[in-house]
């Protein structure tokens, strides 16, 4: 059985996170583990470390997890969430420097072919200028 790299989408907006996840599902299918979160704890725009950590834990497996983020706070909060993970997991969770929607789709396409975590990230990051 293939272990696929998991994908986590972290946006400031719940709607953007959910929409990007919908696009991944439609274009890549169901086999890649996918989780998403958006908005702060009050339901407004923002990102929430606890929610990001929970999303990572939902999809984490031996193949690791690639995270796609939108603006700066999403990256900072994702880095914080990674540091709060079990120590043995931390090196297997990477943040991709890529546009959130295109990056999520490309990362998931790469992951669905059974690619390693570093290759999944590299593919997503090719989209960055």
């Amino acid at each position: 059985m293939t272990e696929y790299v998991g994908i986590v989408i972290v946006s400031h907006s719940l709607d953007i996170a959910r929409g990007a996840a919908d696009m991944v599902r439609q274009m890549v299918g169901e086999e890649v583990p996918l989780a998403w979160c958006g908005g702060n704890a009050d339901g407004g725009l923002g990102t929430d470390v606890a929610a990001i950590k929970a999303a990572i834990e939902t999809v984490y497996g031996p193949a690791g997890v690639a995270i796609l983020v939108d603006l700066g706070g999403a990256e900072t909060n994702s880095e914080m969430a990674i540091e709060l993970l079990e120590e043995s997991w931390r090196d297997r969770v990477l943040i991709c420097n890529a546009p959130i929607v295109e990056g999520a789709v490309m990362a998931a396409v790469e992951a669905s072919g059974g690619a390693a975590l570093e290759d999944v990230r590299a593919t997503a990051e090719e989209l960055s200028p």
Binding site: A41, D42, G44, T47, V49, G72, G73, N77, M80
Partner: protein, 217 residues
């Protein structure tokens, strides 16, 4: 630190953030995404709600709990930034017999953690413009053997000067960096909240010192 002093500090900082939340939001609307006031208010209200548990801890653990509460409740980038600040201070702080020199070490460790978390350095129009000079002022006070009154005055002055310096800076980090040149002319919201917190903690210490003097202890 005496638990009642920490208790007073937590109430005072929560109050100053609550009272200035709209002003912080207004600053953030000028050069950020307009959520700094409400995010900070949420974070410091969460700390106040856990105050009894926090003050029951030894100072290093209390600081780490404050940091983690901010990380989990603030919701913007300032959560991990302030959270890392307090967590690093907690790790660096001795459990008892906190000297001015030890406080300076802890403040320096906190400012360094903010630099690492934000991948930032002083001069980029961030809260570091306040946090780094404050740590330096406390270190200089320790080296010079300053009185507590002189230390408080130096710390307040360093924070105020640092805050003021952000007005003419060009933002290269965070949301404000998207504005480029247009970020010049506005105070940085993170530096403003840092200055408010520093000033509020100085107020609490000054009041406690005055009370001690009156009692003649």
């Amino acid at each position: 630190m005496a638990p009642d002093l920490l208790d007073t500090m937590l109430s005072a900082t929560a109050a100053v953030i609550r009272d200035n939340a709209e002003a912080l939001t207004a600053l953030d609307q000028a050069i950020g995404d307009g959520d700094h006031g409400i995010n900070m208010k949420r974070g410091f209200a969460a700390i106040e709600a856990e105050k009894a548990a926090v003050v029951a801890l030894a100072l290093p653990q209390a600081l780490q709990k404050i940091g983690m509460t901010l990380v989990m409740n603030v919701g913007g980038a300032s959560g991990p930034l302030y959270g890392s600040y307090f967590m690093a201070m907690g790790k660096a702080m001795p459990p008892e017999a906190v000297t001015v020199a030890a406080l300076a070490e802890a403040l320096t460790a906190g400012a360094l953690a903010v630099q690492q978390r934000g991948k930032s350095a002083p001069g980029e129009k961030t809260m570091l413009e306040v946090l780094v000079p404050v740590a330096d002022a406390v270190r200089q006070a320790a080296e010079a053997g300053m009185s507590m009154d002189a230390l408080l005055a130096a710390v307040r002055e360093a924070a105020a000067r640092g805050l003021k310096s952000t007005r003419d800076m060009l933002a290269t980090k965070g949301r404000a960096s998207y504005l480029g040149e247009r970020s010049i002319g506005h105070l940085d919201p993170g530096a403003q909240s840092s200055q408010l917190l520093v000033d509020s903690i100085c107020d609490v210490v000054a009041t406690a010192l005055a009370a001690t003097k009156v009692e003649g202890v």
